[in-house]
Each structure stands twice: as C-alpha cells, then as structure tokens.
Symmetry: C2
Subunit: 380 residues, 2 copies
C-alpha cells in the first residue's frame, strides 16, 4: 500500500537529540530551540519566533495575546482544521465563518468586510495547501477596521505572497502574528510541533511570558528582574530540546525537501493536466500572487459520490488518497452557534476535495501510475 504520507527523516535527527542530551538540558528553550528560532527569523524575516508543542498551541498563544474575551468575534474560513477555530473559542470567541473561494479552498476575501461588526477583533486567514491568501486585500481591510490579522500558516512554511512588481514576503510574516505546524504530515516536521511568529512589536514581551506559563522567567535569566514570578496568563507552550533537536535536522535539509516536494507536485499536475479538461475534475489553481511550496496536491471531484468512487478505485490499487476538512460551521460543536449563513463552497470542498500521496520518498513511477489510474477511471 502506498501511504498518503510518510514522514521524511534526514537521518541526523537522532544525532542532534544525542547532542541535546549531552548538554544536560533537554527541557524547553535550550540550544536547539534557539538555533531553530534564529533560523526562522533570519530566513523568513519574522520579527521574533517561539517554538510551540503544536500549531494549535501557537494559535492559542495568538488568542491570549489578542486578549480575546467572551463575545469577541473572530472571522475565519469554515474550511479549515478544528484548531483554527478551537484556539479562539477556548477564550470565548464567537467565530464568524466565511466561505471559500471558487478557484481555491482559501477564504473568500471579498466576503470578509460585510461580516465585520463592532465586536470583531481579528481576521484569521488560512493559507490552504501552502497557497497564499490575497494578503494585501486582507491587510487593507484589517487596517481600515483596526483589526488584528493572524495567519494560520500551518501548511505554508517557505511559501510566499508576491503580487506583481513586489518583493516576495514569506507567509506568516505579513499578519500581526503567524502560526506554523511541524506535525508529521507537514513539509518539515518533528512528529508534533509548531511555531508562533510575532511580527508586531507590541506582542514581543508578552509572548515570551505567555510561552513560559505566565512567568517572567526569560527576563529573570537575562538578569532584567531579580525574581521569577507569576505575572500573566499563559501555558506551557514550549517543546523540549528533544523536539527542537529533531526539527533542527529537518531545517538543515529544507531546500532539498522543498525541491523534491515541488517536483512531485509538478509531476502530478503535468500528468493530470493532459486529460483534466476531458473530465469533471478540477486541478489546483495557484493565484498569480502566490507561490507553491509543494505541501499538498489535491483534486476537486464533481461530487461526494465521484470522490468516493475514486478513493475506492485507488485503494483497490493499493494507493491511499484522503479527503480533508468538514465545514466547521456544520460541525456538531458549532452548528447551533453558527449564524445560519450557507457556505456552499466550503461544503463543496468538504465533499469533493481529494488529496493524493505526497512525500519525499514517493517514486516518480508511482506518481505516473497514480495519474494513469485516475485517468483510466475518469475517462471511462
């Protein structure tokens, strides 16, 4: 069976874990945490970064930093992972869900502004499959209404927003805050893991405190205060050095990983493009202003049934393919809290989007085989 995902291992992860153990300090915020954070900041221009135990935790840090209170409204797409919403709901937010775009599962930027009320506090965009939302439009709306923007860049490491005649800007560096995932299904990974990118100066000091259980431990170790005390809300958001050492090995091979993932993506696209217009499937569309980081390759089938048929066909040929999110506005937990607006495109992606295997060790011939299997089925 060809799996949907196979976590890529560089081989050096365990070497760095040994090295972390040798430092005698394997709880959080040690040598490898600092190395990783410095890498992120220097390579992608985040003002400051903090490793977290998951992207969920990075999103929770955003909710705490934005001081989300009961009744505050947060605007985000419905077609996203539970954590995007849950992190804000835990602080009492009411989620105002937005539909997806016709050409892309990301948030329909044109639907955001009419949903803003005097209770709106933030817009959370999700760069689905690592493909950028239209960030100039989003930031312009946010500025006009004095709102914060959080980028859920869980899938979007090393991907960029680059409108015509502009310098590319790394996803996660444009909003006030950005969040990344290093779950085993991501381009670079540490089993479970995440990162908060803090781009707005106002959050720098408090982020460090919230990260370390609401204490001013970091200031204490820098000698800026003479006692380490409970000064704010927070949690234990920081991962161990074991996790950070693992991630460091992945970062060292980032370029190699990215190159191969994009190659695979292009192989799928080129193969499938040859017959896609003779069938009802849609291939991913990448807006002019977005780059592709090879995170995910997906098709959009004509219906739930068509997708089920294709999944079954691939499975009978020992190929795993998987659907993705269910619309959050229709989830058992949120359906009754949702304001009742229909979000048909989100529902359509929930029913019809199908992801194909994409991991570094996937062989070219397997990719061609998968494409042939799909075309055989769809052209029948």
């Amino acid at each position: 069976m060809i799996p949907f995902n196979e976590p890529y291992i560089t081989g050096k992860e365990v070497h760095y874990i040994y090295s972390a153990v040798a430092t005698g300090k394997i709880s959080g915020n040690g040598k490898y945490t600092k190395l990783c954070q410095q890498y992120f900041e220097e390579r992608w221009g985040f003002r400051k970064t903090l490793l977290t135990t998951s992207c969920t935790d990075a999103l929770e840090m955003c909710a705490l930093l934005l001081d989300i209170q009961s009744g505050d409204e947060v605007i985000m797409p419905s077609f996203t992972f539970v954590s995007t919403a849950l992190a804000f709901v835990r602080q009492g937010a009411k989620i105002v869900f937005v539909d997806s775009r016709t050409d892309h599962p990301g948030i329909d930027e044109s639907q955001i502004e009419p949903l803003i009320t005097d209770k709106t506090k933030a817009i959370v965009v999700v760069h689905y499959a690592g493909i950028s939302c239209d960030m100039d439009t989003v930031m312009e709306i946010a500025t006009r209404h004095d709102l914060f923007v959080v980028e859920d860049a869980a899938q979007a490491i090393d991907s960029y927003y680059q409108p015509k005649n502009s310098e590319p800007r790394a996803l996660g560096s444009i909003g006030h805050l950005g969040c990344f995932s290093f779950h085993e299904t991501k381009n670079i990974q540490s089993g479970e893991g995440g990162l908060l990118a803090i781009n707005d100066e106002r959050f720098l000091k408090r982020a460090e405190i919230i990260w370390e259980k609401g204490t001013n431990r970091a200031e204490f170790f820098r000698g800026e205060v003479n006692k380490y005390n409970w000064v704010d809300t927070g949690s234990s958001f920081l991962p161990s050095e074991i996790t950070a050492a693992f991630l460091w090995a992945q970062l060292e091979e980032l370029d190699k990983i990215q190159q191969r993932r994009k190659e695979i993506w292009n192989l799928y696209f080129n193969d499938l493009q040859q017959f896609a217009d003779k069938t009802s499937i849609l291939l991913p569309s990448i807006p002019d202003y977005a780059t592709n980081n090879g995170h995910a390759f997906y098709l959009v089938c004509q219906s739930l049934d068509a997708r089920a048929t294709l999944i079954k066909h691939l499975k009978s040929n020992e190929i795993a393919s998987v659907f993705h999110y269910l619309s959050l506005h229709k989830s058992p937990y949120y359906e009754l809290k949702h304001d009742g607006r229909e979000l048909p495109l989100s529902d359509n992606y929930a029913d019809c989007l199908l992801r194909l295997p994409l991991f570094n060790n996937l062989k070219n011939e397997t990719i061609h085989l998968i494409c042939r299997l799909i075309s055989n089925k769809l052209l029948l």
Copy 2:
C-alpha cells in the same frame, strides 16, 4: 560545579526514537504512547491515562473536564508551581489559596473546609516533593460537599498514600483526576512531558476528545462513528511518539532510578540528622501515611538571610542549591485577586526552603561533602 539537577538518561531513549521513526508514525497516540499509558495503568492502577506535552497541559485538561466556568472557585495550596493555579485561572476560576502545614509544605488539610462556598467546584492538592497529602481527609471533605479532587502529582510518580492497616494507593489514583510531570527535573522524564490519570469513569470518553483537539478522532479510528468531527472543546494535548519513545526508555529503568534516588535521599537525611538538632535547620518530615519517592531533598532554614548565606557558602564550594516556589497568593498576577488572608507558612517555605542536588549520577562522596559543608557552616 555540582549542578542541582542532571537529567538521567538510560541510553535506550534514542534507540526507541529510531524505532518510532521506523514505524512511519511519529505524531501522537502511536505505539509508544500506548505502551507508556498501559504501563502507568497497570502498575499504579489508574483507570485510564493520557500522555500530555506537560503537567500544565494535564492540569488544563482537568479544568476543561471539570467544566470550570468564570467565577467557579478552586481550592489549592499557595506554595506550588504557577501551573497548578494557571490551568484553572485560564478557564475563569477564582483561586482560593490555602496555607501549608507546619511539618510539611503540602496543603493544610484542616483549613480546607471553612473555605468551601457554594461556588467551590474542586480541591487541588499538591504532593510536594512526592510526599502524600492526607488523602482520606481530603476525599472525605470533597465527598461531603460534592466537590472534585485533582491531585497535582507532578513530583509524585511511584509514591503512595498508605494509612495504618490500609493497602498502599498510588498518588494520582485517589482523586477524580491526577496529573504528573516528566520535566527534566523529575524522577522519570522526557525533557518536557506530562500525564493525565483519569480515575472517575465519568470523564473517560470526554478526556479522549479534549485530548485530540475536541474531535472524536479516537472513536472514528475505532470505527464507532463514521466521520471524524469537531464535537467539544479541547486542545492539542498529546505529545509526539518521539517524546513517548524517550519516556518509554525511562519507564523501563524506573525501579533502578527510584532505588538510587531514595538512597541519595537517605544519605542526606542520615548525615544531616546527626547535627540538625544542634542547629536551626529543619529536615523534611514524612507523615506516617506517606511514602518517600526520593524526588527532592530539602532543608528549611531559619530565615531568608540564613538561606542566602547557606546558598552562598555552598556556591563558593561549587555546589548548586536552589530555593523553590514563591507564594502564589502574593504573585504580581494574583495578589490583588487574592482575598487578603495571610498564609504565613507558605511564605515561610518560600523564604526558607532550600533544595540540595539530587540526581542519579550524584556520587556518595559528594553527598557527604555537601552535608559536611552545611554542618561546618551551621555549627559555627
């Protein structure tokens, strides 16, 4: 310099991490997570356990499971780590702090009952230094007032409550819920890490959901539901298999680790006992109903100044010794929210308690040296 702590490594941690990587599944809830959880349940009789990324996270799971709402009151000692309180404060709880015991830094059980109001929802006890609180007394109060009991057993792995003529019961298995830490400073460790023990049947199903981001993923994979959906609050509380594999290696050597730690504790106690009554220092006192898991060895000095002098003396001889908590009711974050009661014993432990180095590779001759250094200073 002799450090205060040196994380113990069995040598097999990295072997198991390799093995986890080979399974192709290194995100949470895989083979090693299940092995660890099964070990905890079988060895100490917890009804069900879930690994978490930290003890803070296990405590947060308790706050969510107990459905703590704004204004609910939670009773706990003031002399504890920030997380004990923070996890409940994040859900809106008002913390009602209790003083420590004269003979022990743990909660003074006799002061709990007068603090119960109709808003009280839970009592959180902390087994300081792995030494049990008087659990029969606590559970009896809780039952009478229909309150939940959470055991913060962060330091209390493999320690027991054993009143006269009773079977020993593992700490963390007595309250409705129990929480453990595997921070590098703990007896067994994974850099950062924790565990939730669920002893009350009513929490079993929901704990699993809260653990996995409020989704019914576990039920889905067991085939009990046919969609995996957002059904409740929660967070990403589960650690990676990398962390679980590391912890598994530690668990395999638990008995050896515990034996050595208790040996060290006894060496300190026997050496210091010979002169303690000629000085003003107090040695740890272990109640009849409690066992000792060798987690920490501490002295209680006569004053803040006496402690500072002793720390300095030891430091000049290249020995690290460290104080512990500041009273949470006096912390910058909670002082104004506290009801104003004085908690003098908590303050006294904050000012006067001093912990000596205690880790598996600490040599016997170093322990004797430390004791001689202390006696030389105090008998002057």
